[in-house]
């Protein structure tokens, strides 16, 4: 496993935390502006990224316990682009805007996967984490569509039925689904590669080791037996850190 100069630099917890904190500060400012200009859908996403990213430092009560800044950056990318690049703020997004958005959703899914692995009794191998990311990204597009639709027909909001003809609304939604599918698979491949290059995302959260996450080495460990009896071992490994 070859470590480039850059990766050894960001393995430093303090630098990682500083970079992540910079992104989160930007997100906090962006969220305020989004609320002020009434862009509530995006404000919701921004706040969700913030909340997910702030779980480890609060759970560990240590500001350096931060998730990898590069994954947080990926999650924040559409917000950064919308804030900095003019034209991206138009409601009719381009396909590239959609792809960036759903890659960001995939990044959030990865952050959640790492947190579930570190802070709960859920344990994922890196392969399962990749499947989880792809599934969650695609499901998110479906849930988001249904939630907006239900809100429109029950509460009378105008998320989808905003005056456009119905077939235009539907086609836009279908392109959302297409983007979510491609972005989910793309992110899955990207993360698979990322895990292989430099695994152990959770190493930057103190107390999450000894095995770290996701551990390619664990996959090769001998199976408990030919009958495949349930394993009781992983629960005890981080018994002290699983604060539910």
């Amino acid at each position: 496993m070859s470590h480039t100069g850059l990766s050894s630099v960001v393995e430093s917890r303090r630098l990682n935390a500083a970079l992540a904190a910079t992104i989160l500060l930007f997100l906090a400012v962006a969220a305020v502006f989004q609320v002020l200009i009434g862009d509530l859908e995006w404000a919701g996403f921004t706040l969700a990224v913030l909340a997910v990213a702030l779980v480890p430092p609060f759970a560990r009560r240590r500001p350096t316990a931060m998730l990898p800044w590069e994954v947080i950056f990926l999650a924040a990318l559409p917000i950064v682009l919308r804030a900095l690049v003019a034209g991206e703020t138009v409601a009719g997004m381009t396909l590239s805007g959609r792809i960036v958005t759903y890659v960001a959703v995939a990044a959030v899914a990865l952050l959640i996967a790492v947190e579930l692995d570190v802070f709960t009794s859920v344990k994922m191998s890196h392969r399962f984490a990749v499947v989880f990311v792809v599934v969650t990204t695609m499901a998110a597009a479906g849930i988001w569509a249904v939630v907006r639709w239900l809100s429109d027909i029950i509460l009378g909001t105008r998320f989808l039925y905003d005056g456009r003809p119905e077939h235009v609304i539907e086609e836009a939604m279908m392109w959302d689904f297409v983007a979510a599918t491609f972005a989910g698979v793309f992110a899955g491949v990207l993360f698979e590669y990322y895990f292989r290059r430099r695994a152990r995302l959770a190493r930057r959260i103190p107390g999450s080791a000894p095995a770290g996450y996701p551990d390619s080495g664990r996959g090769e460990s001998p199976a408990p037996g030919p009958t495949g009896e349930p394993d009781s071992e992983p629960a005890s490994v981080d018994a002290e850190v699983s604060d539910r």
Binding site: S121, K123, V135, A145, A223
Partner: protein, 218 residues
């Protein structure tokens, strides 16, 4: 609770019902070939293939498929195939019977959920590095089915675009926004049913899959 306890029908009757649906799909395929109707041929042949899956899985992969599971699988593809053909006096059930689409979606989504449940449970039992508590398992099945529902919509959309481009009638039809959204809602209903009752229905399948995993990666 198992399907047979719910329906109060004997295993023999269940096998007969599954066999009858299979026969219907075979006739439908023949009719489609005679009439040279691409949509009927595609829907009937895929359906017919799926009805043979339980037998193939049981024989070649050693995964136990009881009569209830076979009927469950056959019923889903049967309802779908019948929904696409025009019945005298009714028309296409998908378009003219209001509950057809919802029931078919809930049923086929429950199949997808069943596959998702059995696979993840087997991986959970087999793998040292994967541990999926029941509450996570429940959420994951819902996500899995919704992701599949989204993929299904993408496939329908893609076929629609291709049909538009080549000027041929589509194999699958999208009936509008409300319909797509209700599809996803009823997919979720099917997933919840499996997430709640799946463990009793699929226990033997999970055991067999776990054994297969243990054999393939000792």
């Amino acid at each position: 609770m198992r399907i047979r306890d719910l329906l109060h029908i004997s295993e023999r009757r269940q096998r007969q019902a599954a066999r009858g649906m299979q026969l219907f799909l075979a006739v439908m395929l023949l009719a489609g070939l005679l009439l040279r109707h691409a949509g009927v041929i595609v829907n009937a042949s895929i359906g017919l293939f799926v009805t043979f899956l339980p037998g193939i899985l049981e024989r070649d992969a050693g995964i136990p498929m009881d009569a209830g599971l076979a009927l469950w699988i056959s019923a889903a593809v049967f309802l779908h195939a019948v929904g696409t053909i025009t019945i005298p006096g009714i028309g296409k059930p998908y378009a003219n019977v209001w509950w057809w689409d919802h029931v078919t979606h809930a049923l086929s989504a429950s199949l997808v959920a069943g596959v998702g449940y059995a696979t993840t449970r087997a991986v959970d039992i087999h793998s040292d590095s994967v541990s999926l508590p029941p509450r996570f398992q429940f959420v994951f099945i819902l996500l899995f089915v919704l992701a599949f529902g989204v993929l299904w919509e993408v496939i329908e959309f893609g076929i629609g675009l291709a049909a538009e481009y080549t000027g041929t009638p589509g194999v699958l039809t999208q009936y509008g926004l409300r319909d797509s959204m209700l599809d996803l809602v009823f997919d979720t209903v099917g997933a919840i049913i499996v997430a709640v009752y799946g463990s009793t229905q699929l226990g033997e399948v999970v055991d067999a899959l776990t054994e297969r995993l243990a054999e393939s990666r000792p």
